[in-house]
Symmetry: C2
Subunit: 389 residues, 2 copies
């Protein structure tokens, strides 16, 4: 039979790059493509102990739970956010299956067909996929190394009346950018002036190489807690398999998100939420994060030193996160080059799909957190032979 | 500020009953309201062993996984479905966060605003919420104790051109109905004749009190695997906290569902999926299910014997599942009576919200699986004092 899908499926994008990258899982290819944290640093033993505590807590632990999430975990998260100056009560925290689900649920309650979202350019690909899957239009704001250009932002807010502005101000995906405080303040000011919501996606904020460099979140600057939805995740700081993210924001929006969450899946895994609770309660996650900062900086430095020696490449050294964003010689099409790179045993993500408009085909994204130093060296040698061929 | 939500949120239903029932979690109220399995029967120890095996499988276990789910688990599920005569390859199985997410993802890829879904009346409330959240219209088909009336079904297919027909043929929620084989065959025949998809929701199929009574699923009757999407869950047979459901159906639909799943949450918890894999591999789930069948039948019988003695109540004794669906005297409004019942220390779910149209206010749903025999007796005595007052 012929299957007649919903209109929105016409906006679903099947990524050719994703298909290519799916293939390499099997082979002997060194991949700098995925946004994967380093497995060497997973707190496996502590996590196992946390699960033992879950099973020691009685059978009711395994029953259905509350849509918004496990209350003691939401309490801990609320305390944790207060240490980052984000005002937040536990009932304004909702647990999600990774921060991807937070992006999806917020979009689901905000976006009707034809609504507008403003973003950076380039920006997180899977967020673009979500916005488009709700038949929204995405427009990008001009930006430089410090963040969005306030004049262009204000002009586009006035022209497009966007439903919200999506930003990743800390070590953004793909380009690793860290917004300046001034640009953050100006963005928030404009959002408040024109009553536009901001979705602040902060998966990488804790992976910063200079922990003393202060960088307040938009949510912490939004004293009234009226204009910023803030989402983050433990996928990068604990382990991805837990699929534990959260979102917090103004109560009327959070109530609507809870209804969308109930329809979506009733609630996220209670076992994982309770294990995360015990982990946060009994394990010093901040010490663990400081170790990640140190180790990931070493890997970034090693990759940087390799890139510097290659002719024709330009990049800004990231101050945190998981990626180096590289521009190759203008004449190189990094999407076309991917097949050749894979035949040389190395993979990256071409930059073009991350662009909302005016894709730069000579860009690509390298992940430095996943590979051990030995593998990283070997992979970069392979990449060098492809780029300089 | 004023929050301008998406059009679809106008269809979100905030349930007054849900709010009342949320309150009773704290108190000394015996609840027959939730669709909760019995905690006494949870295979806690075996599940804990399964998690130990997950942690013994190495660190890559805790990394990001594949959107469609953990391949060895999908292989086991495909084998398990073959024993129930459902033709199914592992790549046509997608793991979801409970079968609620399967209903949501399928709706997301099928329903545009104004599309039609046909259902039983009454039917599963949270499925109705999903269909309406995608701005679809829901119409009900007339039915009796054996299933939908084929004449009314054909007439409504011709009149409404529905996107799909949603059914729970095994011990449906709320009314515990078991469809006859003939009605299943007629439904499938009409679906094939008019090229309409069926969403077969089967959370309770394995909780049957006479295991020898054959009751083939629609998916098993659909030899070409072209018209039926089948979803089920381990929430009732293992534990709800795992949030592990799955969906299987025609490849073109499954490919679209995988794209929706990727946008929704990338993938469900890998830890839970791998634990479920070890549990299915090393634990005799079918023996466990036979125990559940026996124990749940005892509880149903006890509740039935109580109900029989109460004047003015009518119900059909269920042959499986988790619920007894009761009609009280015509003049009783069970929604109004709920507050009084709670003040007497007992709760149920009023039937009215489960109706697509023509709500019967004198109906209510009782869960018999969650309460121990002692609690069940006490709760039913309290209910008797409310009903007969």
């Amino acid at each position: 039979m012929e299957y007649l899908f919903a209109d929105r499926t016409q906006r679903f994008s099947s990524s050719a790059v994703r298909d290519i990258l799916a293939v390499i899982q099997q082979g002997d290819v060194i991949s700098f493509a995925g946004g994967l944290p380093g497995e060497d640093f997973f707190p496996t033993q502590q996590l196992q102990i946390a699960y033992e505590k879950v099973f020691a807590s009685g059978k009711s632990t395994l029953q259905y739970g509350v849509t918004e999430g496990y209350w003691p975990l939401r309490e801990l998260l609320s305390e944790r956010m207060k240490t980052k100056n984000i005002k937040c009560t536990p009932d304004a925290v909702l647990m999600t299956t990774g921060s991807q689900q937070a992006i999806d649920l917020f979009s689901r309650v905000m976006l009707s067909r034809g609504d507008i979202v403003l973003t950076d350019n380039p920006t997180y690909l899977a967020a673009l996929q979500v916005f488009r899957s709700y038949e929204a239009e995405v427009y990008s704001v001009q930006s430089d190394a410090l963040g969005m250009d306030p004049a262009d932002l204000e002009m586009k807010i006035m022209r497009y009346h966007p439903k919200f502005i999506y930003v990743v101000p800390n070590f953004s995906n793909p380009d690793g950018k860290l917004w300046s405080l001034e640009r953050r303040e100006l963005l928030l000011e404009l959002a408040q002036k024109y009553d536009v919501l901001i979705l602040e996606d902060d998966p990488y904020g804790e992976i910063r190489f200079d922990p003393s460099a202060a960088c307040p979140s938009l949510a912490s600057l939004d004293q009234a807690r009226s204009h910023v939805l803030y989402t983050s995740t433990f996928s990068k700081t604990v382990v991805p398999a837990l699929r534990s993210g959260w979102i917090t924001g103004p109560s009327p929006v959070m109530r609507m998100i809870a209804q969308a969450k109930q329809a979506s899946d009733l609630h996220s895994s209670s076992l994982d939420q309770r294990a995360l609770y015990f982990l946060l309660r009994d394990f010093n996650l901040d010490t663990h994060i400081r170790m990640l900062q140190t180790e990931y900086k070493k890997r970034m430095t090693m990759m940087r030193d390799f890139l510097i020696r290659l002719p024709g490449l330009r990049f800004v050294e990231p101050q945190g996160g998981m990626f180096i964003w590289v521009k190759a010689m203008d004449e190189l099409d990094m999407t076309l080059l991917l097949t050749e790179a894979i035949s040389h045993g190395v993979a990256y993500v071409p930059g073009a799909p991350f662009f909302v408009e005016n894709p730069q085909n000579n860009t690509f994204r390298l992940n430095f957190t996943h590979s051990s130093p030995e593998i990283l060296q070997l992979g970069m040698s392979r990449l060098a032979s492809v780029i300089t061929a």
